[in-house]
Amino acid sequence: MDSANAADHAFLLLDSSDNILICTCSVSAGTIVSFEGAAVRLRDDIGLGHKVARFALAAGDKVYRYGFPIGTMIHAVERGGHVHHHNLASDYIAAHGRDASSAGNEP
């Protein structure tokens, strides 16, 4: 399989109502991939298991995976852009990082 073909198969749509695609093998920034017939140049490195926008998304848009909501966009993203915690927030509860000074301070 040449690299262009590999990149074309790198993004998986899990449910027809989803607005994100899942990366199934790591792809470098600058790679041109085919999204449902349209050529899209990736701006970011996208790692295995990460998400990209299937369409341009605006702040306030709900994000759908498996056909179910997984949070709300807090910043806009263009088609093919990385969708992750820098632009997507939970509707339920915050995630946490590795910063020990701010984590685990129980009431």
Binding site: L12, L14, I22, C23, T24, C25, S26, G47, L48, G49, H50, K51, R65, Y66, F68, P69, I70, G71, V83, H84, H85, L88, A89, S90, D91, Y92, I93, A94, A95, H96, G97, R98, A103, N105, E106, P107
Partner: protein, 413 residues
């Protein structure tokens, strides 16, 4: 397509189990050494180390203050079908009710001995006495009768650890396929961590066998969300984000797919034994005000709770690459991420990442997990078991008993 997880089943699904006096059957014949406070941990560990026997496992509770949850957990674990007998290690002044634990084990028909360090004259004397006690108990454990065990007699739990963006599309739904097969065969399956099901409460409630059970499931998830909100964040580790998961509900939906498609027969709490076959959700979040910190401080805290509810073995899915096993019950590792599998193949039993490389279907991997479940139940060592993983952790918690709406099947005869 490595040959590692490929094998031909050589039986008709029958497993040679160990028959216990209460009629339950185990798939392993473990002798436990149990410390009843951290102050007895070193002595207990020294006994286990010197015994140098993979069937002698170390478990215990570190706290000095008594806790009814911890007591019930150790009582259930010491009388688990995979366990043949136990040696208890007490310092002497701790709050744990060692006499009642001895009573429970003896009442179950298992051999047990109790050693009190302060009475025996200290570390060295107790280690010597402990080695002799393990030898006596183990000699009786080895006389456990064997009995044919059907798949329908298995209790199987599932957990995900080190999840990433691949977990919910490969390993977790493959375990769901295996759960469906096990339940169709009459087995009992447990999935858990209500805090990792936040966002799935409505779709889960619709699968409950009664509307009242559905309401209990929704309430259990709401309790988890409130509990984690007070703690400041959900059940979400930095590695989850490294692997592409962005939010709690995204992680939850992926984790939820481990439960398969069977109806949900009941809601149990740690240590409750499911009253019938079928699929059960375990509510692991404590009741009442937030008192003892995080519900489960790491994956093994959840594994041990499912074992206390009778799980013979655990199906553990991982994307980032967990290596843990467990005391008492074998842990089967299903790796979701093909890149992780390539790096850590020796720690994995099943490579579900093949699904992403178009080398296997979800159904084929589900079948493979089902076959591994029977194979490990029949005595084959899982990868973590063969490498000596016997992790164990038990912390403080408090629970109220489940109400009648949680176990509709228990009310019918």
């Amino acid at each position: 397509m490595t040959g590692k997880a490929q094998f031909v089943m050589d039986d008709e699904g029958h497993i040679q189990g160990y028959l216990r006096p209460d009629g339950r059957k185990g798939i392993r014949n473990v002798t436990l050494v149990i410390y009843l406070v951290e102050c007895a941990h070193h002595v207990a560990r020294a006994i286990v180390t010197k015994c140098d026997d993979p069937s002698v496992h170390l478990i215990g509770f570190p706290g000095c203050y008594p806790n009814s949850y911890a007591f019930q957990m150790l009582s259930r674990l010491a009388t688990h079908p995979n366990v043949g007998g136990a040696v208890l290690l007490s310092l002497g002044c701790e709050g744990f009710d060692r006499a009642k634990l001895m009573e429970d084990i003896i009442a179950s028909g298992r051999p047990a001995e109790k050693l009190v360090i302060q009475e025996l004259g200290g570390t060295r004397a107790t280690i010597e006495a402990g080695i002799a006690a393990v030898a006596r108990v183990k000699a009786r454990v080895e006389t456990a009768p064997r009995a044919v065990m059907a798949v329908s007699e298995l209790v199987v739990g599932t957990i995900c650890g080190g999840s990433d963006g691949t977990s919910g599309i490969t390993a977790n739904p493959a375990v769901g396929r295996c759960f469906d097969q096990l339940i169709d065969a009459g087995a009992t399956c447990i999935f858990e961590e209500t805090g990792e099901l936040i966002g799935c409460e409505q779709i889960m409630a619709e699968r409950a066998i009664t509307p009242q059970l559905g309401q209990e499931i929704e309430a259990a998830v709401a309790k988890a969300a409130a509990y984690y909100t007070i703690l400041g964040y959900g059940s979400f580790a930095p590695g989850n984000a490294d692997g592409g998961l962005s939010t709690q509900e995204e992680k939850s939906l992926g984790a939820y797919s481990k439960s398969g498609r069977s109806p949900i027969s009941g809601l149990i709490k740690p240590g409750d034994i499911p009253p019938s076959s079928g699929l059960y959700l375990m509510d692991v979040v404590p009741d009442g005000e937030v008192r003892f910190g995080f519900p489960n401080i790491s994956d093994n805290a959840e594994i041990v709770e499912m074992i206390a509810s009778g799980c013979h073995l655990i199906l553990f899915t991982t994307g980032r690459g967990s290596v843990v096993g467990s005391a008492i019950s074998p842990v089967i590792k299903i790796c979701a991420n093909p890149e992780t599998y390539d790096r850590m193949a020796e720690d994995m039993d099943v490579n579900a990442g093949r699904i992403l490389r178009q080398q296997a279907s979800l159904d084929a991997v589900g079948d493979e997990i089902f076959d591994w479940t029977r194979k490990v139940a029949s005595g084959t060592q899982s990868a973590s078991e063969a490498m000596g993983h016997q992790e164990f952790i038990l912390t403080y918690k408090s629970f109220d008993a489940v109400g009648p709406a949680c176990l509709p099947r228990a009310n019918r005869v």
